[in-house]
C-alpha cells in the first residue's frame, strides 16, 4: 500500500519487500513440486516439441505456466494457440489447452470443453465470409476476444 502510494507519487520504484515476495513465490512454486526451474524449462521445451510434431503452434503466444493456489494445489497450465495452416497470417483457429494438476490427474482440452464450446460459439463469423473492408477490424476484435478469454484462466 505504502509502496503503491510511493509509486503513484513517483517517489520510489518497487521496494525490495515486493521483490522478496515475488522471488519467494517463484522459489516456492518449484520447491513445492520438487521441480527446479531449469528442469521446468526443459520440460516446457519438450512438451512444445511434441505438440509441434502434430500441430502448427503460434510459438510467440505459447504460455506454459505453473500455477499454485497453496502448497498442496499446483497445476501446470498450458495455452498453445494453433495457427490455421491455410492462412498463416490469420488468427489461430483453435487453441489447445491442457492442465496437469499436482495430484497426478491430467486434465486435457476435453475437460475444458465448456470453455472451448463457448469460445467457438462466440465466433460464428469464423466460417462465414467476411466483407473485405471489415476483415482487419473483425480479425482484431476476434483476436482481442480470444486473448480475453484465454486470460480468463479457470479458477486455480
Amino acid at each position: 500500500m505504502t509502496s503503491l502510494l510511493n509509486r503513484l507519487f513517483g517517489r520510489a520504484k518497487i521496494g525490495s519487500g515486493a521483490t522478496a515476495k515475488n522471488r519467494l513465490r517463484f522459489v516456492l512454486q518449484h520447491d513445492r513440486i520438487n521441480l527446479p526451474p531449469e528442469r521446468a524449462e526443459e520440460m516446457k521445451k519438450e512438451i512444445l516439441a511434441v505438440i509441434v510434431k502434430y500441430l502448427a503452434v503460434d510459438r510467440e503466444r505459447v504460455e506454459i505456466d505453473l500455477e499454485q493456489r497453496d502448497r498442496t494445489h499446483s497445476k501446470l497450465v498450458a495455452e498453445l494457440p494453433i495457427v490455421n495452416e491455410t492462412d498463416k497470417n490469420a488468427r489461430p483457429a483453435a487453441e489447445v489447452s491442457a492442465i496437469a494438476e499436482s495430484n497426478g490427474a491430467v486434465k486435457t482440452a476435453d475437460d475444458e470443453a465448456d470453455k472451448v464450446g463457448e469460445d467457438s460459439a462466440a465466433k460464428p463469423a469464423k466460417k462465414e465470409p467476411i466483407p473485405k473492408a471489415a476483415v482487419g477490424e473483425a480479425a482484431e476484435e476476434n483476436d482481442n476476444k480470444q486473448r480475453g478469454s484465454s486470460a480468463q484462466k479457470p479458477p486455480v
Binding site: I14, S16, G17, A18, A20, L28
Partner: protein, 265 residues
C-alpha cells in the same frame, strides 16, 4: 485435563526459536499455567542461558532418557515461577542419543502433571527436528520476514503436515514496522499470502531481546518491551484466548482474526 505438547520449530537457524520458547514458557507460567520447557537442541544447549538457569544444571535430557536420573530430579525449577521447569539439552552428546520414541515417552509422563510442555527444536530437518516433532500436539513455526527464513518455514510446513502434526501456526519474529512501511521488508500480510498459515504472533525487532539474553531474564518480564508484550499475547492465544494483534504496522489484524475464527482457533 492432560497437558499439551507444543513444539517450536523453524527450519532455518537463528530465527528466534529459543527466544520464543523461553518467553512463552515465562508468559504461560505467569498466566498460572504449569509449564516444562525442553531444550531438544542436543549438543548446542542454549535455553538454559536464555532463561538464566545455567548454573543450576545437574542432569540433562540424555541422562533422563538413558535412565541415569529420575525425571523429577532432573528438571530445573525457575527462580521466579514455582510451576516453570527446564529440562536442559546434553551438551556433549549428539542428537542420536535421543529418539523420537524417547521424546514421546518423556512427554507422556509430563502431560499428567503439566499444562504445557514446550519443546525448543533445533534448526534443520534431521533427527533433532524429528525428536521435537514426534510428541507434538501442536507446532509453532518461527520465521523472520526474509526470503530464506520463509522458504525454510514452507519446507518444514510440508514435513509437519506429512507427519500429521499440521497445520502449524506461525510466529513472524523480528519484524521492523518502519521498513515494512517503506516497502523494504516483507509484511506479515505478505508472509501470510505466501505460506497460508494462520499467524499466532508478530514480534517486532527489539533491542531489549539482546539485553534480556545478556542478563538471562527473558524479555516478557520487561514491561517496557514491545517484543515482550507480543510474546505475552502469543502465550494467551496458545491458551485459546482471542487476543487482538498489537498495533504494529504492516499486518492485517482484523482479517487474521476473522480467519482464525473461521478455522476455529
Amino acid at each position: 485435563m492432560a497437558g499439551k505438547v507444543v513444539t517450536i520449530s523453524s527450519g532455518k537457524g537463528g530465527v528466534g526459536k529459543t527466544t520464543a520458547t523461553a518467553n512463552l514458557g515465562i508468559s504461560l507460567a505467569s498466566l498460572g499455567k504449569r509449564v516444562v520447557v525442553i531444550d531438544a537442541d542436543i549438543g548446542l544447549r542454549n535455553l538454559d542461558v536464555i532463561m538464566g538457569l545455567e548454573n543450576r544444571i545437574v542432569y540433562d535430557l540424555v541422562d533422563i532418557v538413558e535412565g541415569r536420573s529420575k525425571l523429577r530430579q532432573s528438571m530445573i525449577k525457575h527462580k521466579k515461577f514455582e510451576d516453570l521447569f527446564l529440562i536442559p539439552a546434553a551438551q556433549t552428546r549428539d542428537k542420536m542419543a535421543v529418539s523420537p520414541d524417547d521424546m514421546v515417552k518423556l512427554t507422556d509422563e509430563l502431560r499428567d502433571d503439566f499444562d504445557y510442555v514446550l519443546i525448543d527444536s533445533p534448526a534443520g530437518i534431521e533427527r533433532g527436528f524429528r525428536n521435537a516433532l514426534e510428541p507434538a500436539d501442536e507446532v509453532v513455526i518461527v520465521t523472520n520476514p526474509e526470503v530464506s527464513a520463509v522458504r525454510d518455514a514452507d519446507r518444514i510446513t510440508g514435513l509437519i503436515e506429512a507427519a500429521d502434526k499440521g497445520p502449524g501456526r506461525l510466529i513472524i519474529n523480528r519484524l521492523k514496522p518502519d521498513l515494512v512501511k517503506k516497502g523494504e521488508m516483507l509484511s506479515s500480510d505478505d508472509v501470510y499470502d505466501i505460506l497460508g498459515l494462520s499467524i499466532i504472533g508478530i514480534i517486532p525487532e527489539d533491542e531489549l531481546v539482546l539485553s534480556a539474553s545478556n542478563s538471562g531474564i527473558p524479555v516478557t518480564l520487561n514491561t517496557n518491551s514491545k517484543a515482550g508484550m507480543a510474546f505475552n499475547n502469543v502465550a494467551r492465544r496458545l491458551t485459546g484466548e482471542d487476543v487482538p494483534f498489537m498495533n504494529l504496522n504492516g499486518h492485517r489484524s482484523f482479517l487474521q482474526r476473522v480467519i482464525s475464527l473461521l478455522e476455529g482457533r
